[in-house]
């Protein structure tokens, strides 16, 4: 992979990140209208003109939107995401507390979903159209179609009736406090997340595997007398691996912004909960901060996926290519 390519991609990524910041600013700063009215609700009507102006000045709302954007953007570059209007706590602190929860959830879900999805995808692809293929595909479609909130709700109800366990935000145990206690809390939400993920991984694996299995080099390998197991893993799965890895990476990026429902139902203090609380309390600094962070993470993850993709494939890994 050439340095030039890498630099070009990094430049493109930075451009996208600026674009992301603009969109977040426009959507969450300009669209919601007057923050003060939004914040104080009916009380806003009782403000005197002077109080109102003072507040506007305090929040920097008296300057032009462009100036506001650059002030805000400059803050971002210094790692300043603003202050929660509700609690006065810097948004970066709130995110700092919430991020590990979401990350752990996402990683756990991936660790469960990827092997399951890959194995079942291979199983389905090993005999296209056969009973095993149709059943795996049917279950996979259900996995995608049953909404996460339904699975999460049912799981919580089951936990309550079977173990008299009711998740609550107050009793959250971090991984530092107790590994086992933490895992007990995280396992079920991660499993719920893993269902849809595994279905997606399974579908990608199935089609990538089928595509690779039809390649000429697979026949060449069999023609050498290579064992069927080795043909499947070393040749077919390895080649199918490139699209699978790409998809898994992208799904991981999605997951960072997609744990909201599960965090809500299982009362986990992650980014999703933070975002949801921010939205419900119209605490826009929080909403902006979380949205921005997750989108940026998504962009960076996608960039990483692209780099990994290129490293995995010798055709794009090597420097000068011959014609």
């Amino acid at each position: 992979m050439s340095l030039r390519y890498l630099l070009g991609r990094v430049a493109g990524m930075l451009g996208t990140l600026v674009g992301v910041a603009v969109v977040v600013f426009v959507v969450l700063r300009a669209l919601p209208g007057d923050t003060i009215t939004a914040k104080l609700g009916t009380q806003a009507a009782t403000l005197t003109a002077d109080q109102r102006a003072a507040l506007r000045h305090f929040y920097g709302l008296d300057s032009s939107p462009v100036t506001q954007f650059f002030r805000w953007f400059g803050g971002l570059l210094h790692g300043d995401l603003g202050v929660s209007m509700d609690t006065g706590v810097p948004v970066t602190h709130l995110i700092g507390d919430a991020l590990p929860v979401t990350l752990e959830l996402a990683v756990l879900a991936m660790v469960i979903a990827v092997p399951v999805g890959v194995l079942f995808g291979m199983l389905a692809a090993s005999r296209p159209g056969a009973v095993r293929d149709l059943s795996v595909q049917g279950v996979g479609l259900l996995g995608l179609a049953v909404p996460e909130f339904v699975v999460a709700t049912v799981t919580v109800a089951w936990l309550a009736s079977a173990f008299a366990y009711t998740p609550s935000a107050g009793t959250y145990v971090s991984i530092g406090d107790s590994f086992g206690g933490n895992l007990r809390q995280m396992l079920y939400p991660a499993l719920v997340l893993a269902i849809g993920l595994a279905a997606t991984v399974m579908r990608t694996t199935r089609s990538a595997y089928l595509e690779a299995a039809g390649s000429d080099f697979v026949r060449t390998a069999r023609g050498k007398g290579v064992t069927e197991a080795r043909v499947r893993f070393r040749h077919i799965l390895h080649n199918a691996g490139i699209p699978i890895v790409t998809m898994v990476g992208i799904q991981f990026g999605y997951l960072l912004g997609g744990t909201l429902v599960v965090e809500q139902v299982f009362a986990l203090p992650g980014l999703g909960r933070l975002l949801l609380d921010g939205i419900l309390h119209q605490d826009y600094a929080i909403v902006q901060g979380v949205t921005l962070l997750v989108a940026a993470a998504f962009v960076v993850v996608n960039f990483g996926v692209d780099v990994v993709y290129r490293l995995l494939d010798p055709r794009t890994r090597s420097e000068g290519r011959r014609a």
């Binding site: 050498k224 007398g225 010798p314």
Partner: protein
């Protein structure tokens, strides 16, 4: 000495709930050190014959009857596990498109060594034989080639690698399925010369599949002409070119330029199309397109007979072909 003997091979493929006959009673012998050409239009069942020998038929296809003997051992009767151990060590194959025949994610050396390892050759011995195999096919700097990924090599180099890999275990039989079709003319000639040389050196029995009679003329001692899953005619190359005994062979010959001409024209063109395997005619499958057909050609399928130095599955001897046929087989 006969190394490969195919006896009355029948292969079908399942399509839309019924078995289509793709190979219908092919019999062929290839001796040690001999190259037999297998020619015929695309779709005539050449590749299916080859894949039946290797035991690598695609999903849905299977051999229904017949025997495939290599040094007297019937491969069809073997269990899949034993079948696998014969691939590469007893029978090996090289393929049409060298660009796609190699795994893009493995180095060339690893791909050759993998075949050796599948047959119990490991460690330094595998490495030594990998390099020797690369050297044998005339590639320079074997250790550098071994470390290369396929995309770094040209089409001709890749085909040499495929040949090296196929011959690394010194198989008795090599099946070449149109290995030069995708290459340009000079490279084609080099590959032909290489296989010819390796054949003498290792006393290989080679079945060379092609739809190019020019290639056959150059390399094969004997030729089998396939049509609609059967061998229409089998003869010495010289005999076939001098006096084809089957109207289909004659038509194929008429459609190529002089065999010494290196410029390849378009694929052989004969009026009409091969029959639909799902609705084969009751008589000779070539009858609808044949210039010399007689009444009985439409009712019964001819069995091979020995005539004029060849085995031909045709009711009508050359002598009865008449004036029009003589014009057709005149070399250009």
């Amino acid at each position: 000495m006969t190394v490969l003997r195919i006896e009355d091979l029948h292969t079908v493929v399942r399509s839309r709930g019924r078995d289509l006959p793709v190979v219908r009673g092919v019999s062929l012998d290839v001796d040690a050190g001999e190259i037999v050409g297998l020619v015929g239009e695309s779709g005539s069942g050449k590749s299916f014959t080859a894949l039946s020998v290797l035991g690598l038929l695609p999903e849905g296809a299977r051999v229904t009857s017949g025997r495939i003997l290599v040094d007297g051992e019937d491969l069809v009767a073997l269990r899949e596990r034993d079948r696998r151990t014969r691939r590469g060590s007893t029978v090996a194959m090289i393929y049409q498109d060298p660009m796609t025949a190699l795994n893009p994610l493995m180095t060339v050396g690893a791909q050759i060594a993998e075949g050796l390892r599948a047959h119990g050759i490991r460690g330094p011995e595998a490495k030594r034989r990998t390099l020797a195999a690369i050297e044998e096919v005339g590639l320079p700097k074997p250790d550098r080639i071994a470390r290369s990924y396929p995309h770094r090599l040209s089409g001709g180099q890749r085909q040499r690698v495929v040949i090296a890999s196929a011959l690394a275990l010194r198989p008795r039989v090599l099946i070449a399925d149109e290995p030069t079709t995708a290459l340009d003319v000079t490279i084609q000639q080099q590959i032909l010369a290489l296989v010819d040389e390796l054949r003498t050196e290792h006393d290989l029995a080679v079945l060379w599949i092609t739809h190019d009679l020019g290639v056959v003329a150059r390399i094969a001692a004997r030729v089998a002409v396939m049509y609609a899953g059967r061998v229409a005619e089998q003869a010495g190359t010289r005999e076939l070119f001098a006096a084809p005994q089957h109207p289909y062979s004659a038509a194929l010959l008429a459609s190529i330029p002089s065999p010494t001409d290196t410029e390849r024209g378009p694929l052989p063109q004969i009026g009409g199309a091969p029959p639909d395997l799902a609705a084969l005619p009751a008589g000779c499958p070539f009858e609808p397109r044949c210039a010399y057909r007689e009444d009985r050609c439409a009712t019964g399928e001819p069995e091979p007979v020995h005539r004029g130095g060849s085995d031909t599955a045709c009711f009508v001897p050359r002598e009865r072909w008449g004036v029009r046929g003589d014009a057709m087989e005149e070399p250009a």
